[in-house]
Subunit: 322 residues, 2 copies
């Protein structure tokens, strides 16, 4: 698509009404304007590049691409305990993309935005050789309920939501012809991940909670929590929740999907033992799985151990034997 | 540059301290966190693509590229009457870019950020075929002093800052070997534009003001104000401020640079006659030029006229004869 008239495209994309009362001015001036006098404001950005993060019509449809790019951003906010409110979209459109493809990306974005009561409040559409979609999200959270990865404490329970590795399996089915049952389940987990906003919001009564979304694999996220909180973590390999089909794969593949496969956009967190029941109730209410996979242990080295103190889980998913 | 380790790159880019007290958490978690209980929050995004918006080391250096991409965004905030505070950067890095080039882009960004007391609070660095730089800015303004393009009223004075067309001439010197005196002045205006934040802030005592930054050419911006405010505008061609060298060019080139050449990132606005002295004083204090170029006239058609009611200035810079 050669952009002949950016204004016409914007008019097709622009919402006819806005959902958020805190929004003062959406699209249509040099900048969007909003006001938030009570809560903290959170913001993050994520970028998708064609043939790097997705292959058009092979790993996902253009609509799923829009959906997924916003989902990834919403997941970042969920991992901070925030509710998403606004998003801005920057899109680089190559000549070989049809206008319908571009509109379909925005359709995917707006479908998920609607579900989360979000508004599209800004953007930029430019021409280029390669398709790039960059989304900035803005959300709100009560200041004392923002969930930092630096808040883990010794004796905390370590938990994860959902099952891990599903999205990675889905991608390998699409790209590398991986043989496994229930293919559509795994593919779906890759193409339309569900950010855990509801669950994270249901934890609002809990005073202290460290939280990360699993975007770079469990091993990376656990190490980030250990480092940021200056603690160590001991997890039990057999407790990591996985789909029953994954258990049929060879060991080295199981390890890869469990520890290094990100992009399930599940949450990993830690909280004190007294809150564990609340966490389980919140998961039940949100209709998702939550599993205790280990605990925070005393150690000076900010490390992540698997099963015993001789096995160290590195950020890249490699288990180092002492 | 092939991104082997995103974390190492982030550590090189990350600020060692933050300038804004309203920032609670910068880079280092799933999202940045800030709080602003008094003022409105403004946000905009702009994207630069290699060989579309710039040619590396031909139209500008990598450092100027970073500087300019942030300047363009700051200009959007200035045109809303806001002060810039934060920015997020998404960058797509192709294999043929060296790490030093990328760091130089961030050097340009941080140089201008420092000048405006802004903090880099988020970003995403990914691989791709083409270099893309996308910057999201966040700023603050008092709610009743946000400057909308829809606030022009009949009998308002229409003014612009600076001289128009300089950046366009600069680009044509670099790209098309345009012959003109004082080349370095014009090239500089293209490579390192200065957003008019100080001037816009000095107008803070003025109750009502419509304002746009001239990013798409004077004709486009005037038509946007006319349409958004449901008024018409009459400008005087000879009053449009231009560099004396521009006046030596053939008429059709003068018209092009004056009306269609954006990216000077000067401001165009309207205000009631009683405020005109304040505007002139603000410009003097900010050390910039401000010029009255016309006034808001009664008309039902939301049009922009040049010199008389028979010459209509279209958004694309074409002067249509009635």
């Amino acid at each position: 698509m050669v952009i002949m008239d950016e204004f016409k495209l914007i008019n097709k994309i622009k919402q006819t009404y806005y959902r958020n009362a805190s929004l003062i001015k959406g699209i249509g001036d040099d900048a969007a304007v909003f006001k938030q006098t009570n809560q903290s404001i959170l913001t993050a950005v994520d970028t998708f590049v064609e043939n790097i993060h997705f292959i058009k019509d092979k790993t996902m449809s253009t609509k799923q691409l829009g959906y997924r790019c916003l989902a990834v951003n919403i997941s970042d906010l969920a991992a901070m305990g925030a509710v998403p409110r606004f998003y801005l979209v920057s899109v680089v459109i190559p000549p070989n993309w049809e206008e319908l493809d571009v509109l379909s990306v925005f359709d995917g974005l707006s479908q998920l935005a609607k579900k989360h009561q979000m508004d599209l409040i800004g953007g930029d559409t430019v021409s280029g050789d390669t398709f790039v979609l960059s989304v900035t999200v803005i959300g709100y959270a009560d200041e004392e309920k923002v969930r930092y990865r630096s808040d883990a404490k010794v004796d905390d329970i370590v938990f994860v939501t959902g099952t891990l590795g599903d999205a990675g399996i889905g991608l390998d089915i699409l790209l590398n012809d991986l043989k496994i049952n229930n293919q559509s389940y795994f593919i779906n987990r890759h193409q339309v991940p569900e950010p855990r906003v509801t669950f994270a919001q249901l934890l609002n009564k809990i005073d202290r909670l460290s939280l990360n979304d699993i975007s770079d694999g469990l091993s990376s996220e656990l190490n980030e929590i250990a480092k940021a909180s200056n603690i160590s973590i001991m997890i039990n390999d057999k407790d990591i929740p996985v789909n029953k089909e994954l258990k049929k794969l060879p060991d080295h593949q199981q390890i890869k999907y469990k520890y290094s496969s990100g992009e399930d956009f599940e949450l990993v967190g830690t909280t004190s033992k007294k809150n564990w029941n609340q966490i389980k109730q919140a998961a039940k209410k949100a209709g998702i799985l939550v599993t205790k996979i280990g605990q925070v242990v005393t150690s000076t080295n900010e490390q992540v151990f698997v099963d015993n103190y001789n096995q160290i889980l590195k950020s890249n998913g490699y288990i180092h034997l002492k």
